[in-house]
Symmetry: C2
Subunit: 174 residues, 2 copies
């Protein structure tokens, strides 16, 4: 499937509602469970997405669009959310994510990007040259990856409780 | 995490809204994409869950609760949705799933299951003896598995479009 801006925005603008539908007012046991040491719980997934709204996708798109002499992105801290989310409730995180994502989607729409702009390049600190089109496609796929991760992490909390059904539920061992 | 009825119901009652948040009014290209021959699209995932509401979880729970002489479940047709969903829109499927799930969760709550009842057994046609507790835990994990699958299948549509980011997006190769 080819990246089309309208298709990508359609996913980006739905992600906060998907997390709200999954997690709002859910019993705490589901919110905090993870897949073991150094893995993300549902709470961590939302916190990580929030940090991305502030530090990753739109700031990097701005660097590409500016086409200055230094087009190298700041490295992204994949664990910044641990510090930033400390002490917050999942309700606060869901609200914060909705707010930030709404503003970022409005910014993205406001740019009314052309094919020429989508082909502009920036420099990822480890991946090297990347286009704006690739960055926006990665933003969408990253969202969906964290929806999938959140649902998978929740499912795994019942890995033992499903008994013999485990063989029919591949998500439990992925 | 130990299965607790209230925790399980909290997930079961949220799943239709999670699918609605992800899929309602989304461009068709996202709805129909899959992972290759004989794999489920987002549309197929909702259709499969609908068939489960009619033929799988609650009917099997009734067999267990009845404790008749024959406690063997009917085999579940994992592809029945292909026939049943033909010609329907995703909007129709989302509505149908909400309606059926709402009724099934009401039935489940109405049973006010005791620990004794959760320990009762039925016979799965291929897995053998299973308890009602295991069936309900599997219902929850199965929901979450299909949320994860839906998001993963969508993400994969951009596997090529993300360019070098693919190495940082494990969902694209899962």
């Amino acid at each position: 499937m080819e990246f089309q801006l309208a298709d990508g925005i359609a996913v980006l603008e739905r992600t906060p509602a998907a997390f709200r539908a999954l997690l709002a007012e859910l019993p705490d046991v589901w919110i905090a469970g993870n897949e073991g040491p150094d893995t993300f719980s549902p709470f961590d997934n939302v916190g990580h997405l929030i940090h991305g709204e502030r530090a990753d996708w739109v700031p990097r798109a701005r660097i590409i669009l500016a086409q200055g002499t230094n087009r190298r992105f700041e490295p992204f801290d994949r664990l910044a959310h641990v510090r930033e989310s400390a002490g917050k409730s999942v309700a606060e995180l869901l609200h914060e994510f909705e707010h930030l994502r709404g503003a970022n989607v409005a910014t993205l729409r406001g740019w009314a990007l052309t094919e020429r702009e989508l082909a502009l390049e920036g420099e990822h600190p480890t991946l090297g040259p990347v286009t704006l089109r690739q960055l926006l496609a990665a933003w969408v796929a990253h969202d969906l990856g964290h929806v999938a991760q959140t649902a998978r992490v929740m499912a795994k909390q019942y890995r033992e409780e499903v008994g013999p059904w485990r063989v029919y539920l591949p998500v439990l061992d992925r």
